[in-house]
């Protein structure tokens, strides 16, 4: 009797649960699961949208690794971009958050001003503006002219500096990381700093022994998410630099986009997509593995 009552309640919960997640489930099937499986299949085919996909085994992957220098170029560019952008943005965000973590006037205004770039930074409008700022006869060029430096080629036109213009665009959007750090800094108990002061610790020691360890879980979480996000960057390199000059800013997703929608090389671009998933998974795994070394969890220490 009790058992049947229990299972009745369970089955009712099952039905309610599935009704509630049904819309999401439908979207998941249509937008993730089906595309995922078909994408695996296409990655083993030659498919240009016009003809039926033709199975070619591992040829796409072989071509990518052994016969496509542009793939290696774009991979290198993307890794350079992510590895420069993410640490710089996090360090900058932490630095500013520490500065703002005091009681001063106009704090709300500053916070808002630093946060606005994060809100608008991904838009096409801002990318267009960035192009004009760093491009030919742009803001930077005219400013350098003002102090007597004549720039022959703009930062965007120069293959060795172009990537830095879009890295800077990313660092400029440090605001949301800053807000996260600010919230986390407020959580650190004052008593820790007080006892450190009694022990005679100086400012730097307080930072490295208390602030930084207490923030590591947050840093870890942001490192994971921003690394993933870094690999997704597209608008920047599409609008600001158009991948050039000499493919020096050809981010991976832009290359994938061109393969798919300029050359209609659908099978090959699916293979490109899966290699990207592999790289992101590998990096995420590495960051997760590394956390035992540098991430500090309070509860673990108490045990």
């Amino acid at each position: 009797m009790r058992l049947s009552g229990h299972s009745k309640k369970n089955s009712k919960e099952n039905i309610t649960g599935y009704i509630l997640i049904l819309p999401w489930l439908f979207g998941f099937l249509l937008l993730y699961l089906v595309p995922m499986f078909s994408s695996v299949y296409y990655s083993f085919t030659n498919y240009n949208l016009l003809n039926e996909p033709r199975f070619i085994g591992l040829d796409n992957y072989k071509r990518m690794f052994f016969n496509d220098p542009t793939f290696w170029k774009s991979l290198g560019v993307t890794i350079y971009y992510v590895f420069a952008l993410v640490p710089l943005r996090l360090i900058f965000a932490l630095f500013i958050a520490m500065l703002l973590n005091t009681k001063m006037k106009f704090m709300g205004v500053y916070r808002a001003a630093y946060y606005i770039p994060s809100i608008v930074g991904g838009s096409v409008a801002v990318s267009i503006v960035w192009r004009q700022i760093f491009g030919n006869k742009g803001v930077i060029m005219s400013l350098l002219e003002l102090i007597g430096i004549h720039q022959e080629v703009s930062f965007i036109g120069n293959p060795s500096t172009a990537i830095w213009t879009i890295i800077l665009l990313g660092v400029w959007q440090f605001g949301s990381s800053m807000l996260i750090f600010l919230a986390a800094l407020k959580q650190i108990s004052e008593s820790l700093y007080e006892s450190a002061m009694i022990d005679g610790a100086n400012g730097w020691q307080k930072f490295t022994r208390i602030t930084l360890p207490m923030l590591t879980p947050i840093i870890f979480f942001n490192l994971v998410l921003q690394t993933i996000n870094g690999f997704r960057a597209f608008t920047e390199s599409f609008i600001v630099t158009q991948g050039g000059p000499l493919d020096s800013t050809l981010l991976y997703v832009l290359y994938l986009y061109r393969r798919a929608f300029t050359y209609f090389d659908m099978g090959y671009s699916c293979a490109l997509a899966w290699v990207l998933v592999g790289i992101i998974a590998l990096l995420t795994l590495l960051i997760f593995k590394s956390q035992t070394v540098w991430v500090y969890y309070e509860s673990k220490e108490e045990r």
């Binding site: 369970n10 919960e13 309610t16 649960g17 509630l20 997640i21 819309p23 999401w24 439908f26 937008l31 993730y32 089906v34 595309p35 995922m36 994408s39 500065l99 703002l100 005091t102 001063m104 006037k105 205004v109 808002a112 630093y114 946060y115 606005i116 770039p117 809100i119 608008v120 991904g122 838009s123 096409v124 409008a125 801002v126 267009i128 503006v129 004009q132 700022i133 006869k137 742009g138 803001v139 005219s142 003002l146 400029w172 949301s176 600010l182 919230a183 998410l225 597209f234 608008t235 599409f238 609008i239 997703v253 986009y257 798919a260 659908m266 699916c270 997509a273 990207l276 992101i280 998974a281």
Partner: protein, 284 residues
């Protein structure tokens, strides 16, 4: 004594000098956009850094930009973006909300598995799915229809589900139990207990959703080829093409128009954005 007092006074001054200069660098590109939208076309590439136009052309820039290309006005692009962002946001937030409630409060078979799937979609970049999605949408005849931009957002997104699950987990279970004693079922609890407390999280999700859809460039670029269905992002990209449109003043004028809703929402709902980011620790 006097030395200490001096440094105490000096410190805030130094702080504000630094904070204001950094603030200027942060908002300079936006001020520059606004200034350039006022400048005459001939002036944009001369002393480009200047924020003060010498030759004003406000009306000219904004009307030329608004006129658009071959009879399709910028108003048309704005309307497309509004429709997509509004429908996508309403659907996305509602579906995410329901799923989040189920994941955090209802024990159904397979709950952990499906939640793992949610987290997985958070990790997989959407760009990876774009080719098969394009093929599916082509088969469903959604290409060059606004639906193709709405559907990817409409059924909820991992980020919002995660954010609201975190939020609901913070609501004491005793409230649910009290409501059960009062005779509420699972849906009653949702409407009477959870929903009223969830409003800050809903606000955060709504604003972020609107932002992301409004500024999305990748999906419109792939799904839309007819200018009639272009969103604001695509329209700006089209204006950038020297073959179809080469009026920088007008380009910046419409850039300002495209950023305006974003900035206005920011000023109105700053609180929810800041809190949403701070409590979840997720980047927006």
């Amino acid at each position: 004594m006097s030395k200490a007092r001096k440094s105490n006074k000096l410190k805030p001054v130094l702080f504000h000098i630094f904070a204001i200069s950094l603030g200027f660098f942060m908002v300079y590109p936006l001020l520059w956009t606004l200034a350039s939208s006022f400048k005459h076309n001939s002036e944009i590439f001369i002393n480009s850094y200047s924020l003060i136009p010498k030759k004003w052309a406000v009306a000219e820039n904004y009307t030329t930009g608004w006129k658009g290309i071959s009879g399709i006005t910028f108003g048309n692009f704005l309307l497309n973006s509004f429709i997509v962002a509004a429908v996508g946001t309403v659907g996305g937030v509602l579906c995410s909300m329901l799923a989040a409630y189920a994941f955090s409060r209802i024990k159904f078979i397979g709950r952990n598995f499906w939640f793992m799937c949610v987290m997985m979609t958070l990790m997989i970049p959407n760009q990876v799915m774009i080719v098969p999605q394009y093929i599916i949408f082509k088969r469903l005849d959604l290409i060059n229809k606004l639906q193709s931009l709405i559907v990817p957002w409409f059924f909820g997104s991992a980020f919002f589900i995660f954010l609201m699950v975190q939020f609901i987990r913070g609501i004491p279970k005793e409230l649910d139990e009290a409501a059960t004693i009062d005779g509420c079922g699972k849906l009653g609890i949702f409407f009477k207990v959870i929903l009223p407390l969830l409003t800050p999280a809903i606000a955060t999700c709504t604003i972020f959703s609107f932002y992301w859809i409004w500024q999305d460039f990748f999906q419109p670029l792939i799904f839309m080829s007819k200018p009639k269905y272009f969103t604001v992002s695509l329209a700006l990209n089209m204006y950038l093409d020297p073959n179809s449109f080469s009026n920088y003043g007008a380009l910046f004028a419409m850039s300002v128009v495209s950023l305006l809703p974003v900035i206005i929402l920011f000023i109105m709902f700053q609180k929810y954005l800041v809190e949403g980011i701070a409590t979840t620790g997720l980047k927006g």
